[in-house]
């Protein structure tokens, strides 16, 4: 049968989500997850549950090969069991590795029912739990994509340079496991993915293509996890930055927590190593996730959503948008007390 990846339209549930968090996003950009829940509940009026009992899916362990597939399947089955117990059939997934992983497991089960039976047995023996197959697995970027026009209607800001009146030039990076493993599970497929560019355009920005758009950020699982191997990771990110540079992007938008972190941190590391940035200034190119970008156009306080946790400073971007914010509150704690500040922000002194 014809398996064309053109005009892939995937199904995205429109309400009643069970939220499955991301290890990396919670660790580095916890504010992005919180504001995603807040947007869904309080701006879009959706039902989404944040359950305390779910754990890591162990996907990073799986792709760095210390967790066998059978265990991974059982861990995924456990997440599904929690959904089932709470009466939810739609998963909203924060992590791209998990997102790819849940689909990988479901596809295996479709093709090889004996694997599903094994996972059910393992889960039952280990935890006494049972599960139903979810009806819909969507990534948080899918949900933002689905409601991009609603968000645009509620938006306080547009992705427009306030001074020039021109749309911000935005490059995107799609996490590899979002659509490369199963092209029909990603909006627009694997090759010309539109899940982020459509969002950017709906909010007034200009989506800019660049040659290495589809190249991996370089996480490489074991390559980043082992210190001696990290040059693999940084050299792949560098390849992307070099490819973006001529297009002078105002920012990078990502859908993957890991990519978000690497593209932020490797700009800093490359500046330290090479004395060079790819942004035309010393700060670097700000990197935001789709959650953070949605929060910005909706006018959330940038410090409530954790943008002070980025190494590349987001303030120049806020200035471009004409965002009304208070720079003095950037390093205040929950009670308004100064909590100290990083020795250095951005990429180059």
């Amino acid at each position: 049968m014809k398996n064309s990846q053109v005009n892939v339209t995937k199904e995205i549930a429109d309400d009643n989500y069970f939220y499955l968090r991301s290890c990396i996003r919670q660790n580095f950009f916890p504010g992005a997850e919180n504001v995603f829940l807040d947007i869904l509940k309080n701006k879009l009026g959706k039902n989404i549950i944040d359950n305390a009992n779910h754990t890591s899916c162990t996907g990073i362990g799986y792709h760095s090969d210390i967790v066998p597939y059978e265990t991974y399947q059982t861990m995924v089955a456990r997440q599904f069991a929690l959904m089932t117990e709470h009466g939810f059939r739609n998963a909203a997934v924060s992590c791209i590795t998990s997102y790819g992983g849940y689909h990988e497991v479901l596809e295996t089960w479709k093709e090889f029912p004996e694997e599903e039976a094994k996972a059910r047995k393992n889960l039952k023996n280990a935890t006494g739990r049972c599960f139903e197959i979810p009806e819909n697995i969507s990534h948080s970027c899918d949900i933002i994509y689905r409601f991009r026009h609603d968000i645009a209607e509620l938006a306080k800001y547009k992705l427009i340079n306030k001074q020039t009146g021109k749309p911000l030039r935005i490059v995107d990076h799609i996490g590899c496991h979002y659509a490369k493993i199963f092209p029909d599970k990603g909006v627009g497929g694997a090759e010309k993915n539109t899940v982020l560019s459509a969002v950017v355009e709906a909010w007034g920005g200009e989506s800019v293509d660049y040659p290495e758009r589809r190249h991996c950020c370089g996480f490489g699982f074991r390559h980043y996890l082992v210190k001696n191997n990290r040059s693999y990771s940084i050299s792949n990110s560098k390849k992307k930055f070099e490819s973006m540079e001529p297009y002078c992007p105002d920012m990078i938008v990502t859908n993957c927590p890991g990519c978000n972190m690497f593209l932020d941190k490797w700009q800093y590391a490359l500046a330290k190593i090479e004395g060079k940035t790819y942004s035309g200034d010393k700060n670097g190119i700000p990197v935001l996730s789709s959650e953070e970008l949605a929060a910005l156009v909706l006018g959330y306080n940038p410090w409530d959503i954790g943008l002070q946790m980025h190494q590349v400073d987001v303030e120049p971007l806020l200035e471009k948008i004409g965002f009304d914010y208070n720079p003095d509150e950037k390093y205040l704690d929950a009670n308004g007390n100064f909590m100290g500040k990083p020795e250095f922000i951005g990429c180059l002194d």
Partner: protein, 344 residues
């Protein structure tokens, strides 16, 4: 009684016309039903033919059936139904046209693969990515191939197997003629631009025709065309609309990156979509590649699974001009044989 027998031919390309001229020559009444305004089919789009660079017009002129009292040509006839009624066939199009015949030849030809489906190659998105059919159009116009902004290309890359031997596009078969087309067109580029570097990215060079290998030799020896064994993985556009290719040079075992001004996609042949309609009201069947299924691919290549309906040319499988013409002649002979058997 031959002159009382009527044969309908669906498709007025070179195969349909060749079959018609054999049959009228034998004294049969023949009607060609062509869905387009003009006869000639896909060959109208081609400029020069492999392996000897003859003009396609030469073939088109040669197959043109001499005006004959026994020949009836109906253009703009998009036949969608073939039904057997009282031992004869009734062919209908979307208007009120009904044609009755004692035998039918299918010569519906082929479609070109829609290269936009191979998204990673950027056809329809990047202006400097064109197809082999686009190249023929340029060649036929007498113009030279240039980049989208009118410049002489410094480097051109031909990409083999686009929409062929590819489970991703649903076409797992080999289109057979693209390899030699790539060699031919590569030479034509160097004839237009002697300074231009030309590369062919191939997986297997399937140069099956008797004179095709000589053309390959000529391409390498006299035109310095380079052949790289590796299937193209992706095309992206750089600033200035220059293209960036990613492939593996599999003979070196290393990834290969190349910047090029123009990419030409050698698109494969697909069965006509309309074939499905034509099978609906009879015993015709399609094969796994959606071409018409032969009764048996060895002895009965030109017989369909419906008795009285015969197959000619590239509606059976991808074929070169030569093969199409041969196939048409053998289909015509088979029609003659079968009607004579009926007669007895």
């Amino acid at each position: 009684m031959i002159d009382k027998k009527h044969i309908a031919i669906i498709g007025g390309g070179i195969a349909g016309q060749e079959a018609a001229s054999v049959l009228t020559g034998l004294g049969y009444k023949v009607t060609i039903l062509e869905k387009n305004e003009r006869m000639g089919g896909m060959l109208n789009k081609w400029s020069k033919l492999f392996p000897d660079f003859s003009s396609s017009q030469l073939v088109l002129d040669a197959v043109k059936v001499a005006t004959d009292k026994n020949l009836n040509v109906i253009c703009n006839a998009d036949i969608f139904s073939v039904q057997k009624e009282n031992g004869r066939f009734k062919l209908s199009d979307n208007s009120s046209l009904d044609v009755y015949a004692d035998a039918v030849i299918m010569s519906t030809g082929y479609n070109l693969f829609d290269a936009t489906l191979k998204e990673e190659y950027g056809y329809g998105v990047f202006e400097n990515v064109i197809t082999s059919a686009d190249f023929e159009k340029v060649h036929k116009s007498g113009e030279k191939l240039t980049t989208a902004d009118g410049k002489a290309p410094r480097r051109v890359a031909f990409i083999h197997c686009v929409g062929s031997r590819d489970a991703k596009t649903g076409n797992t078969y080999c289109s057979k003629v693209c390899c030699i087309t790539g060699v031919k067109q590569a030479i034509e580029v160097t004839q237009m631009w002697p300074e231009c570097e030309v590369f062919n990215f191939y997986m297997d060079l399937r140069l099956y025709g008797s004179k095709y290998d000589a053309l390959y030799l000529e391409a390498q020896k006299h035109h310095k065309i380079q052949f790289i064994r590796g299937r193209l993985s992706e095309v992206s556009e750089r600033q200035g609309k220059e293209l960036q290719l990613k492939a593996e040079d599999t003979l070196q075992g290393r990834p290969l990156r190349m910047k090029t001004d123009i990419v030409v996609l050698l698109i494969g042949m697909e069965a006509c979509k309309q074939n499905e309609d034509l099978c609906r009201d009879n015993a015709l069947e399609l094969d796994e590649n959606r071409f018409f299924k032969s009764k048996n691919i060895y002895n009965h290549r030109n017989s369909s699974t419906q008795s009285g309906v015969f197959l000619a040319g590239s509606c059976i499988c991808p074929m070169s001009v030569n093969e199409s013409l041969e196939s048409a002649r053998s289909a015509a002979m088979l029609v003659d044989k079968s009607l004579k058997v009926q007669e007895r």
